[in-house]
């Protein structure tokens, strides 16, 4: 059913740290790798090594510049489904293929019921849904539903593929409905942001803004100023080395 379930206590989601993300695209790559064999498999991958590569990805990494002049920052920005609490992509679906799970809040597509009308992709402001032209159905991030509950995986690996692979630990997975969970505390400590709050889809995922840049030196024991070494070494080298320097500089 595309009417929304009553709000659940459990809100599984991601927290993405824009301070530490290095923009390596590993999350997107591992996401594609896992999901092309997972719940929504296969993900189309047309002309992958040619001039016009195209296909479905659940994760896309943008790079933005925020601020102006010397104080501007480069911010790498991974974008995926935010598993909204009131997702319009679910309610606009005419067939019931799009749904939100009551038990954990994950938004999924039942590919057997999808007619491929693409209206859900219009209703999503985050660009989370991509159409599979081969299968004629819409696909989206499943929050790796086939990993997080997968008892065949070691417990430490029961996190979404993007979280498991992030080399900078910029991605965190957990229950954002529980104020005492580690990621809820992280959001509280770092002023985690909701994207496009104006549209009121109540996304579950949060983005941690970059920390303010350090303008003062830390107390590392080093002097605040370093003396130039060039003149010193030339003098210290004596007449012979100056002669060698002159000969070699010719």
């Amino acid at each position: 059913m595309t009417t929304l379930p009553p709000p659940g206590r459990k809100k599984l989601g991601l927290v993405i740290d824009l301070d530490t993300c290095v923009g390596c695209h590993a999350c997107a790559t591992n996401c594609k790798e896992w999901n092309t064999g997972g719940h929504s498999a296969p993900l189309p991958d047309h002309d992958p090594y040619g001039a016009d590569p195209n296909g479905v990805w659940f994760n896309r990494i943008h790079t933005f510049e925020a601020g102006e002049g010397t104080s501007s920052r480069t911010v790498h920005f991974p974008r995926s489904c935010l598993h909204c609490e009131t997702p319009a992509c679910v309610t606009v679906c005419p067939t019931g293929a799009s749904y939100k799970r009551e038990e954990d809040g994950i938004v999924l597509v039942n590919e057997d019921a999808c007619i491929g009308c693409k209206l859900c992709s219009w209703a999503c402001p985050y660009g989370a849904r991509e159409y599979d032209t081969d299968a004629g159905v819409m696909k989206k991030c499943t929050l790796c539903i086939d990993r997080i509950y997968n008892e065949n995986l070691p417990e430490a690996e029961r996190v979404p593929a993007c979280v498991a692979t992030c080399p900078a630990s910029a991605r965190h997975f957990g229950d954002l409905g529980d104020p005492d969970s580690d990621i809820s505390k992280l959001v509280a400590a770092r002023d985690g942001r909701e994207l496009m709050p104006e549209l009121n889809y109540k996304p579950v995922n949060r983005y941690l803004p970059p920390r303010p840049p350090k303008k003062e030196t830390g107390s590392t024991g080093a002097g605040a100023r370093l003396d130039p070494v060039t003149a010193q070494s030339a003098e210290g080298g004596g007449r012979f080395l100056r002669w060698v320097d002159r000969v070699l500089s010719r």
Partner: protein, 315 residues
């Protein structure tokens, strides 16, 4: 938004069809036109053909047309589903009205009731079509009070002009039929003026800063897009039309939905059928062209919030 031809054809053809069917029903009930079986057969037949052709073409852009029946199930939440239910339900009073008009030669009693029901369902179906677009908060231009009136007025305008053509051919034209097909030229003009004025004046609620959660860090701009080639989201949502082309298309639309049909109807309706019929046909063709231009612009000018992630200045 990418203007898909199947959706443009669907909404303009079915709009004209529902407009024509509603006017046939209303004029039939009120004895504005006689219950002539041939007139009924051609009028209701043309309306049915436009509606059915439009509905069939709307399935062409589906990935799985064979599952289209599933779209009847989610009427509780989805305007697209409601549109499907209403469009299908319309065939019931349509068949009963056609029976009364064509076979019984009368719209009295129960048949009048069916015709009234037909008119109401036609209006509700077009309303549902408009609501599909008007409820999308992601597209600021469409999330607009003038979107649904735009759909309704264009259905009235295009259906009304074809209704007038049939009335002229059968000799049933009157000051009422002429008035009812000219009124929407003014209505469309006012509605589209308001629509275009409002999309010019009011910026969308979302900014690149709020889209990225980077408010307070200064202006945000795209440095690197995620892909080297256009992906699905960019192809579907990233259609862009140059402003000067949009403005000239708006002017062409104004000529074809207002000036040309208004002038033709005013100047030819009272004349000899040899002039009045071609005049009405030209007016009907003109408004049909205007509906396609307007619908194409409705898509091409609409900016989707997701494009803020791809460097759009505003959405």
């Amino acid at each position: 938004m990418h203007p898909a031809y199947s959706v443009i054809f669907f909404t303009t053809a079915s709009g004209a069809g529902y407009g024509l069917l509603a006017l046939m029903a209303i004029f039939g009930i009120l004895d504005g036109v006689p219950a002539d079986p041939w007139f009924g057969a051609i009028g209701l037949g043309l309306g049915t053909a436009l509606v059915t052709g439009g509905l069939l073409s709307s399935t062409f852009h589906l990935g799985h047309p064979e599952r289209a029946w599933r779209a009847y199930t989610q009427w509780k939440s989805s305007w697209l589903s409601r549109e499907g239910v209403l469009a299908t339900a319309t065939y019931v009073p349509l068949a009963l009205t056609a029976w009364g008009w064509i076979v019984e030669g009368s719209l009295d009693g129960a048949f009048g009731f069916f015709a009234a029901f037909l008119a109401i369902l036609c209006i509700l179906t077009v309303h549902a079509t408009g609501m599909i677009y008007a409820t999308l908060r992601t597209i600021h231009a469409w999330h607009n009070r003038m979107t649904v009136p735009g759909y309704l007025c264009f259905a009235w305008l295009t259906g009304g002009m074809w209704f007038q053509v049939l009335c002229q051919i059968f000799g049933y034209q009157s000051v009422w039929t002429a008035t009812i097909c000219m009124a929407p030229t003014v209505a469309v003009w006012l509605v589209k003026r308001k629509y275009w004025g409002s999309i010019e004046r009011t910026p969308g609620p979302v900014t690149r800063e709020s889209a990225t959660g980077l408010e307070g860090m200064g202006p945000v701009r795209l440095l690197d897009p995620p892909t080297t080639t256009e992906n699905f989201v960019q192809r579907e949502m990233g259609y862009h039309i140059a402003r000067k082309h949009a403005l000239s298309l708006r002017r062409i639309a104004w000529f074809t939905y207002f000036l040309i049909p208004f002038a033709l109807i005013v100047s030819t309706t009272e004349l000899d059928p040899w002039i009045a019929i071609p005049g009405a046909v030209l007016a009907a063709i003109s408004v049909s062209v205007s509906a396609v231009i307007e619908r194409w612009l409705f898509f091409a000018e609409a900016k989707h919030a997701v494009m803020l992630y791809y460097g759009a200045e505003a959405a």
